[in-house]
Structures are given as C-alpha cells and as structure tokens.
Amino acid sequence: MPRVLDVVRIQLVHWPALLGYPLLALVAMPPLGWGIDVSNGETARGAHEIYLLPMLLGAIASAHLQTMTQVFPFTLGLGVTRRAFAAATALVVLGQALLLGLGLVAFDIVERLTGGWGRETRIFGLDVLGHGNPLALWLVYSGPLVAVSAIGVLAGVVFQRWRHTGIYLAIFGSVALLVAMGALAKTQNWWPSIGSFLGGQPSLTLFTAYPLVFALALGGAAWLVLRRATA
C-alpha cells in the first residue's frame, strides 16, 4: 500500500493537470455561460440551460490519458509494478471525481442562491441530473467523472500498448458496436422501451450506479491491456 500511495503522489506531482485545470474549467463556466447568454441575446428569455459540463469531462479524460502514456512508462523504469500503478490510478480517479463533484455541488448551490447567476441560467443544476439533496447530488456529479476518467485511462493504455493502430481500431470498434446496437434496437423497435426504462430510473441510478458499472468494466479492460504493456 505505501508503494501505491507513493505512485499516487507521483501522479499528483504535476497536480495542475489533474486538479488545477479541471477546477479552472469549473470556475470558468459561469462567466462562459454569461458570455454565451450575451452572444445569444438570451439574458431576458427566462429559465434556460447551458451545457458546459462536457468541457470539464473532456479535460479530465485527456489528463488521465496522458497519465497512462507518459507517467506510466516513466515509473515502470523506476521499478513500479503495473498493479501498483493501476491501483494508484484508481485512487486518483476516485479522489479527483469526488473533489470535482464537491466543487460542482458548491457551484450548483451558488447557482440556486443567485437565481441562476441573476438570469435564470442553469449550468450546473441541469434538470436531467435531478434535484436531490447535496449528498445525492455529489454522487450524481461524481459518477460521470469516474466514467469519463475510465475512458481516458483505457484510451491511454491502448495507445501505450498498440500506439495509433490500437486507438484507430478501438474507435472503429466502438463506433461499429454502437451502430450495431442502435440498428438492433431500431429493427426490434426497442427504442421506446429503452427510453421509458431510462426515463424511469432515479438520478442516482442513472448518473452514479450505471457510470460506476461502466467505469468498472472499462477499468477491467484497461487492466487486461496494461498487464502486457511496456515502456
């Protein structure tokens, strides 16, 4: 365990990439939302939502991708096992998601207290996320962050092991799978059932439980790839 914690500290040696930049993105969202409102002339058009959260998700995924393609090979030469690195990555992902999730809850509270930044804007408290208590909201915000981090980690280890060929094949394979699943759902007329099933799920299940299961599956796949990855 001490070795794992040492690797956590190494991953956090350059903490701005994992914490600083995402927090900066968080702080930048309200003024960006204001800018969008101004450019759209929507300041007086009543309650509305602005979808800036994907910006945060993108920053997180790329940070973990870099961890796997740059920090992993460096530490492998310093005698760190893949197992220790994977465990440390899981801790960092979880810690980062919880911390940023807490930040999102704080901004959500501010957003509500200020009446949507004074102009009924929803950047954080999107309707789709539900309006549970702060603890539930914390988990709702953190779940997708873990899932997106897992995508970054998996993409990173695929690149580390098979380079561009691996990434191209992974993207092609994922798109092909999604298209096949979509086609199957369409031909079987499953979309209405899928829609009503997802619509009937509580936010905590939809944005915490499912993303965590998804992240666990990707994490398992990442571990299988990492086991034979080299520097």
């Binding site: 190494i10 740059q70 460096f74 530490t75 005698g79």
Partner: protein, 292 residues
C-alpha cells in the same frame, strides 16, 4: 552471489529471434559491461530483467525471483533507458522527486551535487532540456537512487566527452562507497574499459563473451611476426582475427597471454579490439543495425 540470472532465454518477435538461448549471471556488487553491436539484444536483456518485456522461453531470476510484476524485486531495480522519455509537464525536480519517493536509498545531497556537476537547471521543464541535459537527468536518477541493481542502457546520448567522464568518475566514486550491481550497456567500450569488472558480449541475440574483464585483458594478445613463425605459435589457440601484409602476419589470439617469444612481437589487445574481433569472427554481416 548473483543478483540476476538468465538461463536459455529466448525472445522472439515473429520470425526474428532477438535473444537466442541467452544464459548469463550478474554478480552482486560488480560493474558489468553489456556490450554488443546495435541489434545484439542488449536492451532486450535489460527490459526482460526489469520486467518490462517478456521472455518467449527460458528462465529469468532477479534477486531469486521472476521480476515480472514482482514489487519486492522491482523496488530494488532502477533502469535508465537510452532516450528516456519523461512526462511532458514534469520539471527536473518532479522527476527527481518521483525517484526519491520510490527508492529508499535515494541520496538527495548526492542528487543535488550531481545536478550542479552536470549543470542541470532543476526548475526547467524536462521537454525544454537539451539532449545532453536529458541524459544527465537519467544519469543523476540512476546514480542517486543507489538501487541494488542499476541498469544504464546507453545513457550518454548527447553527453559530451567531459560530461561522460564526469559520469564515469561519479559512478566509480559512489560505487566504491556504496557497492551495488551496475549494468552498463555501451558502445563506447574504450571509455568504460577501466570501469567495468565483468564483460558480457552479445551478438545476434547470443552471448559471445561472459568473463571477468581482467581475465580478458590478460589472455588476449595480438602477435605479429614472420608469417611462418606466427602460424606455428598460433596453432592451438583461439584465433579471433588475422591480417597479413606481405610476409608479415598479425593475429589476435584469445587465451595466449602475453609472453616473450624470439622473433614475435606481443601486444595487449584493448577491450574494444577484443569485442570488435570477437564479433567479426561471429561472421555477422557488418552493417549499422537497429537496437532491439
């Protein structure tokens, strides 16, 4: 006592055999020279010993255990690669801090002294360093880690002659105070010939020489003289090389030792010459290759 052992190790990449039945042992508290041409298999040996690559066959032991995913083994191993890559956002101090966290015998004062010796700016981004400074960072980490098994894979890229000599001097001085097992893979054989105690010469994935450096120095000679006399003397010895100019013959012999023979001139053979001649005798086409 040995810290590492390979027995009949093979490593294949498709049809290509990077290692072909390599057997060697690395003795405790010894500086080993891992020598050989590009593509000989030096890097592959070191990657397998550090659990970074996987042997196709044979036995590998480091500190009595297989190194792959073995925290007990790998925590005692430091591997500085040729053209070591560092994370883009890391500064020099970040890389040193990482090494400090991982190596229990890390000596921060020694690291600081080496930084000053090599004039490496500690706050600069690693990607902004020159090739030589980047190599110096690897050298500093390798030396200051004081790992019981430290492997340097051609760590001198971009280092000028003065900086390389500084590396050899610091390595030798620190090794004298803190003995450990060092493996130095290099092409600059003459530069390290006084440094290395044990020589492992690889060629085309096979071990050609595995012997004490001192023994090799004493046993290999170049004998020059009239062709007939040299031929008579050379009979029964292991001939590594021969050059004939007119009636004069010069042969390089292993196991002959230096001696006095009327009419014959004996010269000691440098380690570099021994390596070159032994590799040439292995009859591999001479061309620049890619390290595997």
């Amino acid at each position: 006592m040995n810290v590492a052992r390979m027995a009949g190790v093979t490593k294949r990449y498709g049809d290509v055999a990077a290692l072909d039945g390599v057997s060697l042992e690395l003795a405790e508290n010894t500086i080993h020279g891992l020598l050989g041409r590009n593509g000989a298999g030096k890097t592959t040996v070191m990657r397998i010993l550090t659990g970074q690559a996987f042997e196709t066959g044979g036995e590998v032991e480091v500190f009595g255990q297989h190194p792959y995913e073995n925290a007990d083994v790998l925590s005692r191993v430091c591997f500085i690669r040729e053209s070591q890559h560092y994370p883009d956002k890391f500064r020099v101090r970040h890389a040193l801090r990482a090494a400090e966290l991982l190596y229990p015998h890390w000596d921060p004062a020694f690291a600081a002294a080496l930084l000053a010796d090599f004039a490496v700016p500690v706050d600069r981004l690693l990607r902004k360093l020159s090739r030589g400074q980047l190599s110096a960072v690897g050298v500093i980490i390798g030396l200051a880690s004081r790992a019981p098994l430290t492997l340097f894979d051609e760590p001198y890229l971009g280092l000028d002659a003065v900086a390389r000599q500084l590396f050899y001097d610091r390595l030798l001085a620190d090794y004298a105070e803190h003995p450990r097992t060092v493996v130095l893979s290099t092409h600059l054989i003459d530069e390290v010939s006084d440094l290395i105690e044990h020589v492992v010469l690889l060629d085309a994935g096979r071990v050609l020489i595995d012997a004490e450096a001192e023994t090799l120095r004493g046993e290999t000679v170049a004998v020059t003289g009239p062709a007939g006399a040299v031929e008579r003397f050379a009979a029964g010895y292991d001939e590594l090389h021969r050059e004939q100019v007119g009636g004069s013959l010069r042969v390089t012999l292993a196991g002959a030792g230096n001696r006095l023979e009327p009419g014959l001139d004996f010269e000691p053979v440098s380690l570099q010459q021994l390596v070159v001649r032994t590799t040439q005798r292995n009859r591999r086409p001479v061309a620049a290759g890619k390290e595997s």
